[in-house]
């Protein structure tokens, strides 16, 4: 194949020589030539050379006849055509992002027709809640912030005003190989005044790369390294493979003494990481990454061992101990600390992942729920939310440009556009609470469509049998939760703020059922916090579920909705943040009182089965009846 390229280059030079005469003849008729002294023209070969070359290249591109005559290898022309086709196909999805106040900018890429676009956190950070986005149709669109992921350096924004935006096709970044061609597109140095993206073409230099964070934020895990030029302004822009599929979001490069320009090593966040975070990113939140609750180190023979572990971590609870060797994590073998960090970095906190460890030559598989990497206040600080204060209106002279380039395009526009103002709702802990409300409504509406108990806010009485045919009665009221099974009676009072582990060893089943009643009877406003989290794989192995979170005086419930039919699959309940889970899964929905209601509640405490409650009757009271 070497000969292919050589012959292409040779043929260009040959054509240059051959065409030289005709080109000269052609130019002889122009004023331009006559302005030059003939002797000077003859003597100045370099000048001729430079003038001729662009013409030859023009001929190459514009006249197919030329290629037919020439000896250019068809493979070269085919490769060229493929490049042109790919660039033509994907360019409309590339976004030039400008801060709302006209300070700096970056790049992005549209991924849905309704306008969701990916970019870097460090691009939107400081750009304001509303931005201006240019597409290659030459038009400038308004855009609003959706979510930010300060750890992964990802942000989701939404372009407004169309429902038919050109969206990029997502690829599979795990299939990317070193040596693959890669197109980086975007707006380096904010060059494009017509929003036509700049295209730099290179190869993948490395895959599954780990790039250290600044502190604990802006960590690039499992990222793609390219030699395609990545420069300031490219941040947030797409990396495409040679089929025009989006494989990553360009975000950083290795720079040293050469200044902040391309130095041959650029890094893109893998699109597969973003797929894991996709629903989280649509939640309007400040999205967090995960920690195992344990750190690892490379020991002798390149084994990776647990160096530290928190006793309240899920990993510890599931059996992982100091010194255990990590064999695989999330299905990938672990041979270095970087590999471990690569895997940990691509999953959201709260996900449950398989982990295989070895102790005394014996392998064990456990499913570990990942805990949050940061506290809420750490995240808010990163997002610039020290505490919720009204948006500070930019004062003249107060703006520090983040890029060295002044941005010549954007007009100062600190005020959000009137017609889109409602699309931004501020709330502590959220990048834009508006989008969380949308997701909450979507799930609650689906729930009330099948199980609408909103007029039944009084006392609920559930009766049925356990698996061993013991009768039980569950009473769910505002004042407390009662559970009568056989001869035993358990109580959870709701008159104090103390939630207890009742029945003992369940992790707080009665408190969990209190959450259950509040959610189904449409009283989610009685929770301290209630929000949409994102999606995850149920119990690490089952189907993908949407997750709602509800908290009340330190207790937390996580609600799981099947992503495809939105049916409620169950909940996980925690008496405190680090308590062992009380997991309730709903089986066999039945119709009770004209509404869908779980036929069976399968209760586990951690991984230990506790009981199965088969529900036979449901007595629901309205508040009036309760009072009587």
């Amino acid at each position: 194949m070497e000969t292919t390229w050589k012959s292409a280059i040779t043929s260009i030079f040959v054509k240059h020589v051959l065409l030289n005469n005709s080109v000269t003849v052609h130019l002889t008729g122009t004023d331009w030539l006559f302005r030059s002294e003939p002797w000077k023209f003859k003597g100045n070969l370099m000048q001729r050379f430079f003038i001729c070359v662009p013409l030859v290249i023009c001929t190459l591109i514009s006249q197919p006849v030329f290629s037919a005559e020439s000896s250019v290898d068809p493979a070269v022309l085919a490769a060229q055509k493929q490049r042109i086709d790919v660039i033509k196909e994907v360019s409309p999805s590339v976004v030039a992002i400008f801060g709302g106040a006209g300070d700096g900018g970056g790049s992005g890429v549209l991924v849905t027709p309704d306008g969701y676009a990916l970019t870097n956190f460090h691009v939107v950070s400081g750009a304001g809640n509303f931005m201006k986005c240019g597409l290659n149709d030459g038009k400038l669109y308004d855009a609003v912030i959706v979510s930010i992921d300060p750890t992964g350096d990802v942000a989701l924004i939404k372009l407004l005003g169309r429902t038919d935006f050109p969206a990029a096709r997502l690829g599979d970044s795990d299939t990317v190989q070193v040596g693959d061609w890669a197109y980086a597109m975007g707006n380096p140095f904010l060059l494009a005044t017509d929003f036509q993206p700049t295209i730099t073409y290179g190869i993948v230099s490395g895959v599954h790369r780990y790039q250290y964070p600044a502190g604990t934020f802006l960590e690039y895990t499992d990222c793609i390294q390219v030699d395609s030029s990545i420069n300031p302004g490219n941040s947030g822009g797409p990396l495409f493979n040679d089929r025009g599929e989006l494989i990553g979001i360009n975000g950083r490069g290795s720079f040293e003494k050469r200044g902040r320009v391309n130095s041959g090593a650029g890094y893109a966040i893998s699109i597969n990481q973003i797929k894991h975070f996709w629903d989280h990113l649509k939640s309007g939140r400040i999205v967090d990454h995960a920690s195992l609750g344990a750190t690892v180190t490379t020991g002798f023979d390149s084994h990776v061992n647990v160096a530290e572990i928190l006793e309240e971590s899920d990993a510890y609870r599931k059996g992982l101990r100091l010194g255990d060797e990590i064999v695989s994590f999330a299905g990938r073998p672990i041979r270095s600390v970087n590999q471990f960090k690569n895997i940990l970095g691509i999953y959201p906190a709260g996900w449950t992942l398989p982990l295989v460890y070895r102790r005394d030559e014996k392998k064990q598989t456990i499913y570990v729920r990942l805990q949050s990497l940061h506290t809420a206040s750490e995240l808010q600080e990163q997002a610039g939310q020290k505490q919720l204060i009204p948006e500070k209106s930019p004062e003249p002279g107060d703006e520090k440009p983040r890029l060295p380039m002044p941005n010549p395009h954007a007009k100062a526009a600190p005020e959000p556009p009137e017609k889109y103002k409602h699309l931004y709702v501020p709330k502590t802990g959220f990048a834009n609470y508006y989008f969380n409300q949308q997701q909450q409504e979507r799930l609650l509406q689906a729930l009330s469509a099948t199980s609408n108990f909103s007029d039944r806010t009084g006392t609920w009485t559930l009766t049925g049998k356990l698996a061993d045919e013991t009768d039980f009665t569950l009473t769910l009221a505002d004042k407390g939760v009662g559970f009568e099974v056989g001869k035993d009676i358990f109580l959870q009072s709701l008159e104090t703020d103390t939630f207890v582990d009742e029945p003992p060893g369940t992790g707080g089943l009665l408190a969990a059922l209190h959450h259950f009643r509040l959610l189904l009877s449409g009283q989610s406003e009685r929770f301290t916090d209630f929000y949409y989290l994102g999606s995850e794989r149920l119990d690490g192995t089952n189907e993908m579920v949407d997750v709602l979170i509800a908290t009340q005086t330190g207790t937390i419930s996580r609600w799981y909705f099947n992503k495809s039919d939105l049916s409620l699959r169950g909940l996980d309940f925690y008496l405190t943040e680090n308590a062992e889970v009380c997991a309730i899964r709903f089986e066999q929905f039945q119709t009770l009182n004209g509404q869908k209601f779980p036929g069976e509640l399968d209760v586990r405490h951690g991984s230990r089965p506790v009981m199965k409650l088969k529900i036979e009757r449901l007595k629901l009271e309205t508040p009036e009846n309760t009072k009587k």
Binding site: W5, V178, D242, E256, R335
Partner: protein, 328 residues
């Protein structure tokens, strides 16, 4: 379309072939502007590695990590400082049988040839991660203007200049290959053109290195200890002390040429040089270390005019005298 695929298939198979033959080298350094890491490539199944001759190797604890994460201690077998070349060997009690490049083939290539550069630039790869790959084209095979104010290199000779940014921190000692997998050269140290403040991306051609690699491996090379000191090759007619100069102890790779003492009544004492003066030029040659001072003085002939420029505080002081007859 199939033809397009085969273009990339060719480089893909070259990458697969090359990556197991590249190694990550970790040694001395780590302080400001001195990188404690570099790259090398295997040139024998027994674990001989060609790499850049640099301060990274100046340690008793040289470690080499193969593409698959296997870690070895290594020792410097020999060096050819004029070629910026060193050969190190993995220490192993067992017989090794590693994949390696054929450095004897002496492949050459001209401008326009497509190349791949392999190196552990910026120490991106650790453990079992393979090194980074860059693609580009040979722009020229030419001599770099090695002189003061241009490129300050110890190597003089042909290099391949490429359009890929191959010469980054830690990249020196990496391999330059053609698309079809032929070893073309070794990526050189980072050099900056002092005048234009530009960096050049170049590699030392394998046809230039090949003979020395073979000689060092086969042990036919002249004493490797001597070879570490470039001045040993050059004539040694005069030493600083012959003119009355006692320099500071030469302990660093590049010890600045500070005068420690001036012998009383010597030529330089009469000319007014003082302790703590920094010798910066000898007859218009830049002196960047005690070694280069020795080299320059060693080349003088009896009767030559010796012009020394020293820096004292922020002043340049120039002295001149005639070189006395050699004191055998």
């Amino acid at each position: 379309m199939s033809a397009v695929k085969s273009v990339s298939a060719s480089s893909q198979s070259t990458i697969e072939y090359a990556l197991p033959r590249l190694v990550k080298i970790f040694g001395a350094g780590g302080v400001k502007n001195l990188y404690g890491y570099s790259t090398g490539f295997l040139v024998s199944p027994q674990g001989h590695i060609a790499t850049i001759w640099s301060p990274v190797l100046d340690t008793d604890r040289l470690s080499v990590v193969l593409h698959d994460g296997r870690k070895f201690e290594a020792e410097v077998l020999g060096a050819e400082p004029h070629l910026d070349l060193a050969i190190i060997k993995l220490k192993s009690e067992r017989e090794l049988n590693l994949p390696c490049f054929d450095y004897k083939e002496k492949v050459t290539a001209g401008p326009g040839t497509r190349i791949l550069g392999f190196s552990n630039m910026f120490k991106v790869a650790t453990g079992d991660e393979p090194v980074s790959v860059l693609h580009g084209v040979i722009e020229a095979r030419t001599e770099l203007p090695r002189r003061r104010g241009a490129f300050e290199l110890s190597y003089s000779g042909d290099v391949y200049v490429v359009d890929a940014i191959t010469n980054n921190p830690g990249a020196a000692g990496g391999a330059l290959l053609t698309y079809d997998g032929k070893l073309l050269g070794m990526i050189g140290k980072q050099v900056r053109n002092a005048k234009t403040n530009t960096w050049v991306n170049y590699s030392l051609p394998i046809d230039v290195l090949s003979k020395s690699i073979e000689q060092i491996i086969t042990g036919k090379f002249d004493s490797s200890e001597d070879q570490k000191k470039p001045e040993m090759d050059a004539p040694q007619r005069y030493r600083p002390v012959d003119f009355g100069l006692v320099m500071v102890p030469d302990v660093l790779y590049r010890t600045p040429a500070y005068i420690d003492r001036v012998l009383p009544d010597s030529l330089v004492a009469k000319a007014g040089l003082q302790p703590d003066d920094l010798v910066v030029f000898v007859n218009d040659e830049l002196i960047n270390s005690c070694k280069t001072l020795n080299t320059e003085l060693g080349q003088l002939e009896s009767g030559d005019l010796l012009r020394l420029v020293v820096r004292r505080n922020n002043q340049l002081i120039s002295i001149e005298f005639q070189v006395p007859p050699e004191n055998k």
